[in-house]
């Protein structure tokens, strides 16, 4: 049993809705920007079904988290204000992301550069809310 053992003790979204803090206790506290979670969403839309199919999501520097919904007892579903809401973030995924945060972020920036993409939303403002 103990399949639940990996669950965080607390998941906290800040008041600006752009930073999610996931605490696993025992010093394993991770803060993720909404941008990072959005571009590394475990959704099939982003990840594809193998490393070869993974997409590089760009232009999400200002994205915010618009909702969090628990899914069973293994994950949360995060909705972003750009309409993306198909990613189920499992406890295991948060741990992975947390432990490799810097490396993954650096690699993301490298990928953006490789592909000539930017973190900035582009075009800058589309005008009006969506």
């Amino acid at each position: 049993m103990g399949e639940n053992a990996g669950a965080p003790t607390e998941i906290r979204l800040n008041s600006d809705k752009d930073m999610l803090n996931v605490s696993f206790g025992e010093g394993k506290d991770y803060s993720f920007s909404a941008e990072m979670l959005r571009v590394m969403s475990p959704s099939a839309e982003v990840q594809g079904h193998s490393p070869e199919q993974r997409k590089t999501v760009s232009g999400k520097r200002l994205v915010k988290i618009s909702g969090i919904e628990p899914v069973g007892n293994y994950a949360i579903q995060i909705s972003f204000d750009d309409g993306h809401d198909t990613g189920l973030f499992s406890w295991k995924y948060f741990l992975e992301l947390g432990q490799e945060q810097e490396g993954r972020w650096a690699y993301y920036l490298y990928e953006l550069e490789e592909k000539g993409l930017s973190r900035e939303p582009f075009p800058p403002v589309e005008g009006g809310p969506h």
């Binding site: 906290r12 800040n14 193998s50 919904e69 628990p70 069973g72 309409g83």
Partner: protein, 391 residues
């Protein structure tokens, strides 16, 4: 089998499987090899063949998964051609719809709405302490009969027990429990559950004609189940046994995701095939972190009613060995017996009809093991649930 591979130069089955581990499962959890979705890999003269089992209604959208699998294997040196095919895992009455697990989930949560509010679909059900799914990898293993008798066994332990028939495709609980008629509405908008043999019972079978074929699309199934679970005045219940639809398709996965399950009991016959199916069931619950409380071997052996001879017609012991291999508790072996069958069909489950019989003892013993497993895991789960705070 090994002989075959020698011919095929350096390419080995292990090599192929190793690379296929890079391909994620349909729900993007784990990989297709460890989820048990990849068939025997055939390698012949540089050609590699294998199949991937997917839910039938998802075959189309999982085409990229198939391509990804072919792609990774084609990278092996010495491989000339790769053929990966998708094999549909057809649940009985499976919908042809687009039953994405998320489809039934509430849409984007407007800012500020409380998370996990009552009725939002995934939270706890008021009044019900523990919900346990009884599942099987395939139909025809006696899952519903087992579910009802475990429920009765739990009741014998002095617990308040309900049974929810989640098999909306072929509800069998009304017949097994010998219940007819319609549930009466409460003063609110809910329904009173039916009651029989000291159990509270709810089934789609009470609401529609059992003989009338029902066509369910994915989202409808979820909404029906959510209503059966949440819009029924269950009252105070210690354990709600959910008789899951057979198989490991979308409906089951969605249920396992949407219902706050304390654990699952897997029912299997001793046959190998059924065990493979049972393993799929295990993997499904593993995917959604629902603890498997144990395996019940049904139709385990045949006790001849006239001479008392024990015949192990299906090869008894398979489930027990399998449970051990998987590190899961083996909850018990139920023999094939005419009484279980005929009494069940007559609406008198054996634990209620002949509580002191040999068979009832087996079920009560299983129920006792289930209860101790529930207590153990729920204590662990309660500790584990994260607090979600939105500032």
């Amino acid at each position: 089998m090994k002989e075959l591979f020698k011919v095929a130069d350096a390419v080995s089955q292990d090599q192929v499987l190793e690379l296929l581990r890079r391909v994620k499962g349909p729900e993007l959890e784990g990989n297709i090899v460890d989820l048990g979705l990849v068939s025997e890999v055939m390698i012949k003269e540089g050609r590699v063949y294998f199949s991937i089992t997917v839910p039938s209604d998802k075959a189309e959208e999982l085409e990229p998964l198939r391509q990804a699998a072919e792609q990774v294997v084609s990278e092996i040196e010495g491989v000339d051609k790769v053929s990966a095919v998708l094999t549909a895992d057809r649940a009985p009455g499976a919908t042809n719809g687009n039953a994405q697990p998320q489809a039934a989930a509430p849409g984007p949560n407007p800012m500020g709405q409380p998370v996990g509010s009552p009725g939002s679909g995934t939270g706890a059900v008021p009044g019900i302490k523990h919900i346990v799914a009884v599942a099987s990898g395939k139909g025809g293993v006696g899952k519903s009969t087992t579910a009802v008798n475990i429920a009765l066994g739990l009741k014998e332990l002095g617990l308040k027990v309900g049974v929810l028939d989640a098999d909306v495709y072929g509800p069998s609980l009304p017949r097994l429990m010998g219940l007819t008629g319609e549930p009466t509405p409460t003063a609110g908008e809910d329904l009173h559950p039916m009651e029989g043999h000291g159990l509270k019972v709810m089934s789609m079978g009470f609401l529609v004609d059992e003989a009338q074929p029902m066509i369910w699309r994915g989202p409808m199934v979820m909404s029906a189940l959510t209503q059966l679970l949440r819009n029924v005045a269950w009252g105070e219940i210690d354990v709600l046994i959910v008789d899951m639809p057979p198989g490991t398709g979308d409906a089951q996965l969605t249920m396992a995701q949407q219902v706050p399950l304390a654990g699952a009991v897997i029912v299997s016959t001793p046959q190998d095939l059924a065990l493979i199916d049972a393993r799929k069931g295990l993997n499904m619950f593993k995917q959604v972190s629902v603890p498997v409380l144990g395996i019940v071997e049904n139709m385990s052996y045949f006790l001849c009613p006239s001479c008392g001879e024990r015949s192990e017609i299906f090869g008894h012991g398979g489930a027990e060995a399998e449970a051990e291999k998987l590190g899961l508790p083996f909850l018990g072996a139920v023999p094939l017996h005419m009484d279980i069958r005929s009494q069940s069909d007559a609406g008198a489950p054996v634990v209620a009809a002949s509580p002191d019989s040999e068979h009832s003892k087996i079920y009560k013993d299983i129920a006792a093991k289930v209860w101790s497993a529930i207590e153990e895991t729920s204590a662990a789960a309660e500790e584990a649930a994260p607090k979600i705070v939105i500032e």
